[in-house]
């Protein structure tokens, strides 16, 4: 075989291909207990027993001929790339369904290895599988694994390496259909060989013939210039339909399932109670999917999640705050007075230190998200919410990208690939940025803590709920604006509940922590420096009054409390004017009229403008501006005095909804394959944010 040998991991969605990929290659690709977590090919090269291997994790498919857009990446790979070895990953607990794909893979004629994954669940359920018999029936080695526990990985690698160094069998296994089907296949095959003499091996021409009879549009399109052939296929199809009262695709599918059912009767033995294995899932679903309790429980779980994110996070946050304070004091004292001192203390330390304190909140949020997606509850949530979301022209499965959006909008936009319908996917992509990503969390924790300390957790929860509502309302609007119609069918497998491994949960948290620290030391650090310079320069400001002289006059007066107050007022007025006339102040003041109706000051406008880059910068901007102005590091205190609560709510709402960060805008442009939609997303979200913030400040103003 070629070097390196390409080994494709192919299986049903949620069969564990990606876990296996991680176990084989040491990669850390995202895994969860719902379908279609992996939406693009993952490739890694390793060497085993001296054989270089190129391992490809193919996004899950149920069939190689379904032509659903969400299976396109996987199908195209198998048809187009022709890997050297296919590792067919089967969820051993769901063999009845997953052997269907195996029958199709057999027909590709490619060398295969069959993996029975999640064997631990099967053993626990008292099921025994005769792997030797299965291997001979499938014409491939069979390896039992439990990818999450890294069991059977060595055996699989050995099997792959062994297969890579032998020549594949000349006459691989072949599935037999009934005589009518076989005759039709034979005739199409002959026609194909005539059209492509010498080009097609018998295995390949049989495979093509079956695909064409199945009605595979892709293969048919490929042969569309051979009018006769297409006509013949149609003729065969109608003849078969006439004879069997079923279309050809159904006949072939039934035959495939008949093969796998017969096979399973021979190789599988149930010991004890067959329902014992998934009993726990049943009990849990009686509770979580209860017709009256289900939805309130979902809300409750989300509330607990955000409350805990706020209140549990507060404890380690205090330690980090103390650490930041200590470091700032130290730097303040060691560095000599001057511009560099100011840059470090009021720019870098204020901006970076003001943001890093939110690290615990972020990590806790990701802990909960790992639990929700790893246990299989997220799949249930989309089931529970489908009806409600359907009213808004959305699909239950849209909930998965939406919840992913609570982490970061970029993967959320990518996760919309689970949505089959193109238009539905575009709508999901455009509402994804409304999801309250973890970059916005610091803003809400800061504001909720400053203005609504008693109910801060609930305020944070409310912002998340508002983000969901904003998404739903937008979906309704977009459904009217965007031409076309039609949604998706809700077809979703509900996986059994599984306990996420400690490793995967910790990895999720570690990953989020690393990502956040990288952001703080990257974009936040640079942002803080840039903001500091923008608010420090130009230095040759013409003040409205001669502060120097007035201050000097005041200082010369004899000491008194009045003198102290007057001096303080003068200095603060000077600092204020200096800021307002800085580059930052001037540009923010230029756009402030836009935000005046919302009650925002120029400082708020400055924070909003810088937040375009990344929303964490909003907090950093406040930290830098206020560090300069008040010389105080108690951001919370300062903020509380800077605006009324109603304006704080308006600001939170505006931050929640206005244009996503640059990375999200870029990914929308890429995934929608149109910059117009990315531009639309920016314009739409700005308008929406402005209107809602206005409403909030007006309504809030009368109540608070």
């Amino acid at each position: 075989m070629k070097s390196p040998v390409t080994v494709a991991l192919v299986g049903n969605p949620n069969a564990g291909s990606t876990s296996l990929f991680n176990a084989l290659t040491g990669a850390q690709s995202a895994i969860a207990n719902y379908q279609r977590v992996t939406t693009s090919l993952n490739v890694r090269e390793i060497t085993h027993g001296g054989v270089p291997l190129r391992i490809v994790d193919v996004p899950g498919i149920f069939s190689t001929s379904s032509q659903s857009p969400e299976e396109k990446v996987g199908c195209d790979y198998i048809h187009g790339e022709e890997p050297d070895i296919i590792v067919n990953v089967l969820d051993a607990g769901h063999l009845d369904r997953s052997l269907f794909l195996t029958t199709q893979l057999i027909e590709t004629g490619l060398p295969r290895i069959t993996v029975l994954n999640m064997m631990d669940e099967v053993r626990r359920a008292g099921i025994r599988i005769d792997t030797a018999l299965l291997a001979s029936a499938l014409g491939s080695p069979v390896v039992e694994t439990c990818a999450l526990k890294k069991e059977g990985i060595g055996a699989l690698l050995d099997a792959v390496a062994a297969m890579a160094s032998t020549t594949p069998a000349a006459a691989p296994l072949r599935l037999h259909y009934d005589s009518h089907l076989e005759a039709a296949i034979e005739r199409v095959q002959q026609h194909l060989s005539k059209l492509h003499p010498q080009e097609l091996s018998p295995v390949r021409s049989r495979w093509l013939a079956i695909k064409m009879l199945e009605g595979d549009d892709e293969v048919l399109r490929h042969e569309s210039n051979h009018v006769e052939l297409v006509e013949e296929i149609k003729g065969e199809q109608s003849a078969l339909a006439h004879e069997h009262d079923e279309d050809t695709a159904s006949l072939l599918a039934s035959a495939r399932f008949a093969f796998s059912n017969g096979l399973l009767r021979e190789v599988r033995q149930q010991e004890g109670d067959p329902t014992a294995g998934f009993k726990l899932t049943r009990i849990l679903d009686d509770f979580f999917l209860n017709r009256t309790l289900g939805l309130p429980l979902l809300l409750g779980i989300l509330w607990v999640m955000f409350e805990a994110t706020f209140s549990l996070g507060a404890i380690p946050t205090d330690w980090i705050k103390a650490g930041v304070q200590l470091a700032t004091d130290l730097v303040d004292k060691t560095l000599p007075e001057g511009m560099f001192h100011d840059l470090v203390v009021n720019g870098v330390m204020a901006g970076v230190g003001g943001t890093i304190v939110f690290l615990p909140n972020i990590v806790i949020l990701f802990f909960f998200m790992a639990i929700l997606s790893g246990t299989g509850y997220l799949a249930r949530a989309s089931f529970l919410m489908d009806r409600v979301m359907h009213h808004f022209g959305l699909h239950g499965t849209t909930l998965i990208p939406m919840v992913a959006g609570f982490g970061c909008n970029v993967p959320a936009v990518m996760a919309t690939r689970v949505i089959t319908n193109k238009r539905a996917r575009l709508i999901a992509m455009l509402i994804a940025p409304f999801m309250n990503c973890s970059a916005r969390l610091p803003v809400f924790i800061l504001f909720a803590g400053a203005f609504f300390a008693d109910i801060a957790g609930t305020v944070v929860f409310a912002m998340y709920m508002l983000s969901l509502v904003a998404a739903m309302v937008s979906a309704v609007l977009l459904n009217r604006i965007i031409p076309g119609s039609g949604g998706d069918a809700f077809v979703m497998e509900l996986p059994p509940y599984r306990l996420p491994t400690l490793h995967s949960v910790l990895h999720h948290m570690w990953d989020s922590a690393q990502g956040f620290v990288a952001k703080v030391t990257g974009v936040i650090l640079v942002g803080s420096i840039v903001i500091w310079f923008l608010q420090e320069f130009p230095r040759d400001i013409t003040y409205s009054q001669d502060f120097e002289t007035v201050i000097a006059e005041q200082t010369a007066l004899p000491d008194s409390p009045e003198k102290e107050t007057a001096l303080k007022t003068l200095k603060s007025a000077q600092a204020q004017e200096k800021l307002e006339k800085s580059y930052l102040g001037r540009s923010a003041i230029a756009v402030t009229p836009l935000f005046q109706p919302l009650g925002f000051s120029w400082r708020d406008s400055a924070a909003i403008m810088t937040g375009f880059v990344a929303k964490e910068v909003v907090v950093a901007t406040y930290a830098v501006i206020y560090a300069q102005e008040k010389g105080s590091d108690q951001l919370t205190e300062t903020l509380r005095g800077a605006m009324p609560p109603a304006t704080a709510i308006a600001f939170m709402i505006f931050t929640l909804l206005y244009a996503p960060c640059l990375s999200t805008i870029a990914i929308i442009g890429k995934e929608a394959q149109s910059w117009r939609w990315a531009g639309f997303s920016v314009a739409y979200s700005l308008t929406f944010a402005w209107l809602l913030a206005l409403a909030a400040s007006r309504i809030g103003g009368t109540f608070l």
Partner: protein
């Protein structure tokens, strides 16, 4: 005769929790949906039961081939069944 008509029009959406059904055929012009359902085991002869319904009665979870499949009633109505 009446009995015959009734059986012929029975769909997956009509299945009650205590009943045992068997797939007869998928009635749709949508080839992609049909192949998708077939690849999930919805083929003639497959035994199916109703597991539970969502809070508003739609979608519902069916049990077939040893796994749970969530489907909206609109789709379930395109799948003809007979009772066992």
């Amino acid at each position: 005769m009446d009995q015959q008509v009734k059986i012929d029009t029975l769909t997956l959406a009509d299945l009650r929790p205590e009943q045992q059904g068997e797939i007869v055929k998928i009635e749709t012009e949508d080839g992609v949906f049909k192949r998708r359902m077939q690849s999930l085991g919805v083929v003639s002869g497959t035994a199916v039961t109703l597991d539970r319904s969502a809070p508003l009665g739609d979608p519902r979870i069916y049990s077939l081939m040893g796994y749970s499949l969530g489907l909206r009633n609109a789709e379930a109505r395109q799948i003809r069944i007979r009772l066992k």
